[in-house]
C-alpha cells in the first residue's frame, strides 16, 4: 500500500512539478507533430526526420550530463549510440526470427533497454580512463575509444561486417515509432532535469567545479564519474536502438567522431548544463539543414559560418551588452541591431578565407 503511494507521488512529480516550461514546450510540440502525422497531413520530409531529430534530442541531453554537468569533454558519444543500435537491433532481429508472434510493443522496448544496457557497459569501460585523465587528454581518449568501437563493430560478423546490418525485417515507419520516440525523449528530459536537482546532480556538479573539495566533502568522485558516463551512454544506446528501426540498413562508419562532434556542437550551442537549450539546439540544428535541402551545396557552408559567427558573437562584449538589453519591449529594436554584426562577421570570414 505504502509503496504504491510513493510510486504514485513519484509519477506525479515526474510529470508536473519541475521545469514546467520545458516540459510544456516539448509536450505542445509533440502534440502538434503527432496530430500532423496521424491525421496524414504531415509532409514526407517532416515525418522522415522526426525519429532522427528525437534521437538527437536524447543524444544531446544525455551528452550534456557529461559535458555540462560533469565538465568532461567527450568526443565519443556517437559510438555509444552505435553500440546500442547494433546490439539492440540485433536482439530485435533475433527475437523477430525466434518468436514471430512477439508483439512490437514488447520487442522494441526490449531492444531499446538491451541496447541501452550494452551501451552503459561500454560507457563504464570508456569512463575508466576519465578517472585518471582530464581535459584534452580525456577528449582524445574518448575520441579514440569511439574509433575503436567503430572498428570493432565494422569487423564483427554478427553486425553484418563492412556491409552493415540489414534491419529490413524490423524496419518500422515514423507512425509506428513516434510514440516510443516521444516516451524516450520525455524520459530522458525529465530524468536529466530531476537529476540536476538532487543529491546526485549536486555531487556531479561539485566534481566539475572543484574535484578536491568535492572529495573532501565525502563525494566518491570515481563512482560519480562512472555513473555519469554510464547514464549518458544508456540513453544514447536506447536512442540508437530506436534510430536503427527507422532504417533498412545501417553501417557503423556513420557513427564516427564527426557525429560525436555534431552532438557536442548541439550541446555547446544549447548551453552547458541546460536541458531546454539542448532540446532547442537539437531541433534547430537538425531540422534546419533538412529544410534547406534544396540548397544542399551551400547548407553545410552556411552551417559552418553560422557556427563560427555565434561563437565569435558570444565572446564579443559588445554583443553581450546588447543581449543584456534584450527585453520584451526592446526585442524588435535589438533584433534589428543584432543583424548587422552577424552579417559583417560572416562577410569578413568568408572573404578572408576564400
Amino acid at each position: 500500500m505504502e509503496k504504491k503511494n510513493t510510486f504514485k507521488t513519484a509519477l506525479k512529480r515526474l510529470t508536473t512539478k519541475k521545469n514546467p516550461l520545458t516540459v510544456a514546450m516539448v509536450a505542445v510540440l509533440y502534440a502538434v507533430i503527432a496530430y500532423l502525422v496521424y491525421s496524414g497531413s504531415a509532409s514526407r520530409q517532416l515525418s522522415n526526420m522526426l525519429i532522427s531529430v528525437s534521437c538527437y534530442i536524447v543524444l544531446a541531453v544525455s551528452l550534456n550530463l557529461v559535458v555540462g554537468l560533469l565538465g568532461e569533454l567527450s568526443l565519443g558519444h556517437a559510438s555509444f549510440m552505435s553500440v546500442g543500435l547494433f546490439t539492440g537491433c540485433q536482439l530485435a532481429l533475433t527475437l523477430h526470427n525466434a518468436i514471430p508472434g512477439m508483439p512490437f510493443w514488447v520487442r522494441l522496448p526490449l531492444a531499446m533497454l538491451f541496447g541501452g544496457i550494452m551501451a552503459a557497459a561500454v560507457g563504464f569501460v570508456v569512463g575508466l580512463p576519465a578517472l585518471r585523465l582530464k581535459g584534452d587528454y580525456l577528449a582524445i581518449v574518448t575520441l579514440a575509444c569511439g574509433e575503436i568501437i567503430k572498428s570493432i563493430i565494422t569487423n564483427l560478423k554478427i553486425f553484418g561486417g563492412a556491409l552493415g546490418l540489414s534491419t529490413g525485417p524490423i524496419y518500422s515507419n515514423t507512425k509506428t515509432l513516434l510514440p516510443y520516440a516521444i516516451v524516450l525523449v520525455f524520459l530522458t528530459m525529465l530524468l536529466m532535469m530531476n537529476l540536476k536537482k538532487s543529491r546526485y546532480g549536486r555531487a556531479i556538479m561539485a566534481v566539475r567545479d572543484n574535484r578536491i573539495a568535492a572529495e573532501s566533502c565525502g563525494v566518491n568522485v570515481t563512482y560519480f564519474k562512472l555513473v555519469v558516463f554510464m547514464i549518458a551512454a544508456f540513453f544514447a544506446g536506447a536512442a540508437g536502438a530506436l534510430y536503427g528501426h527507422n532504417f533498412a540498413n545501417i553501417k557503423a562508419t556513420t557513427f564516427d567522431y564527426n557525429m560525436s562532434i555534431e552532438i557536442l556542437v548541439i550541446v555547446v550551442l544549447g548551453g552547458m548544463g541546460s536541458v531546454r537549450g539542448s532540446i532547442i539546439a537539437a531541433i534547430v540544428l537538425r531540422a534546419l539543414p533538412e529544410m534547406l535541402r534544396e540548397f544542399s551545396d551551400y547548407r553545410m557552408l552556411v552551417y559552418s559560418i553560422v557556427l563560427i559567427a555565434i561563437m565569435l558573437l558570444n565572446a564579443s562584449p559588445r554583443f553581450n551588452e546588447l543581449r543584456g538589453r534584450l527585453t520584451v519591449k526592446n526585442i524588435i529594436a535589438v533584433l534589428k541591431k543584432k543583424k548587422t554584426p552577424v552579417e559583417e562577421t560572416v562577410e569578413v570570414t568568408a572573404g578572408g578565407e576564400k
Partner: protein, 282 residues
C-alpha cells in the same frame, strides 16, 4: 558555567605522554597521528609528525612559510597518502582509505586557497557538504520520489540553520563564486561543518582579514566548538588568533615538529623564536 572554561583547557598528559586539555582526558582523542612522514621524489616534506588532538580541543599548527603545514592537512585527509606513520581518527586507522572515505570517518576541512563550488548556489554548496547525510538514492534522484521530498526538505532545513549560524542565510540563493571574500571563507567553514565532522581542519582561516574580521572569526571558531562539541585544528599565521583560542599548539619547521605545548610554553620557547626570527645576532 561554561564547560570549556580556562581551567579545563589546562594541558595534561595521557598515559602515552601526549598532551590534551584536562576535560578531554577521559574521552578518546579525536586524532592520533604517529610518526607521519611523506617524501616527494626523494625530498622529505614532512617527517616524524606526531600529534594528539583531544575530543573538544582547539589545536593550532604554526610554523614559517613552507614548513609543511598544509602538507600535514593533506596527509590527515589522505589527499596525499603518507609514506610513513599512521593516523587514527576516533580510534580507527585511516591507512589505505581515500579522501572521501576519510571524510565519512568524521574529518572536514577548509582550504588555504578557497575551493568553493563557485558555479553552484550557496545552499547547494552546503548540501554537497551534507552529501553523506542525505538519504537519497539514484532512484529517488531520478524520479523525485521514493523519499526525495523528505530528504531534500531535511537537508535544506539543516543547511539553512547552519547558514544562519554564520549570517549567510540571506545569500542562500546566490552563486557561491559571487560572494565577497570574507563570506566565501565563512561558507567554506559552513560546508565543512555540514558533513558533521568530529574534527574540523581550518587552513589559514584568517588570511586576508582585517583585525576586526579576525576577531569575529575567533569568536566564531569558539562558538563552533561550544555549539557542536567538536575538535578544531587550525593553521594560522595570525599569532593573536592562535594564542587567543588555541589550547595546544604544535610548531613545525622544515617538516619537523620543533615544539609542542600551551600558548604560554610556545611564546617563551627559544627554539620557536629562532625559527621565526632567525638566530639572534652573536
Amino acid at each position: 558555567m561554561n564547560q570549556y572554561d580556562k581551567a579545563s583547557s589546562r594541558l595534561v598528559p595521557y598515559p602515552s605522554g601526549a598532551l590534551v586539555p584536562e576535560r578531554d582526558l577521559h574521552a578518546m582523542p579525536v586524532l592520533e597521528a604517529r610518526h607521519l612522514g611523506i617524501d616527494f621524489g626523494g625530498l622529505t616534506a614532512v617527517d616524524d609528525f606526531s600529534v594528539t588532538v583531544g575530543a573538544t580541543e582547539i589545536a593550532g599548527l604554526i610554523g614559517p612559510n613552507g614548513a609543511g603545514k598544509t602538507t600535514v592537512f593533506n596527509l590527515l585527509t589522505n589527499v596525499y597518502q603518507p609514506t610513513r606513520g599512521n593516523i587514527m581518527l576516533n580510534g580507527y586507522s585511516t591507512a589505505g582509505k581515500s579522501t572521501h572515505q576519510v571524510s565519512k570517518m568524521g574529518i572536514a576541512r577548509t582550504f588555504q586557497n578557497i575551493r568553493l563550488f563557485s558555479n553552484m548556489s550557496v545552499l547547494d554548496n552546503v548540501k554537497v557538504g551534507m552529501h553523506n547525510h542525505i538519504n537519497e538514492n539514484l532512484l529517488a534522484a531520478a524520479f523525485h520520489g521514493f523519499g526525495y521530498g523528505k530528504a531534500e526538505k531535511a537537508a535544506a532545513d539543516s543547511a539553512m540553520e547552519l547558514l544562519d549560524f554564520f549570517h549567510l542565510a540571506d545569500l542562500a540563493k546566490a552563486p557561491a563564486g559571487s560572494l565577497p571574500y570574507g563570506a566565501q571563507r565563512r561558507l567554506e567553514i559552513v560546508r565543512a561543518l555540514a558533513s558533521q565532522p568530529r574534527l574540523l581542519l581550518l587552513d589559514e582561516p584568517a588570511a586576508g582579514m582585517n583585525p576586526s574580521e579576525t576577531h569575529e572569526l575567533m569568536e566564531n571558531i569558539r562558538r563552533i566548538r561550544d555549539t557542536f562539541h567538536i575538535a578544531i585544528m587550525l593553521i594560522e599565521h595570525d599569532m593573536s588568533l592562535v594564542m587567543g583560542i588555541c589550547e595546544g599548539i604544535c610548531v613545525l619547521n622544515y617538516g619537523r615538529i620543533i615544539a609542542k605545548g600551551s600558548p604560554e610554553d610556545i611564546k617563551s620557547n627559544p627554539v620557536v623564536i629562532e625559527a621565526y626570527l632567525g638566530k639572534q645576532g652573536g
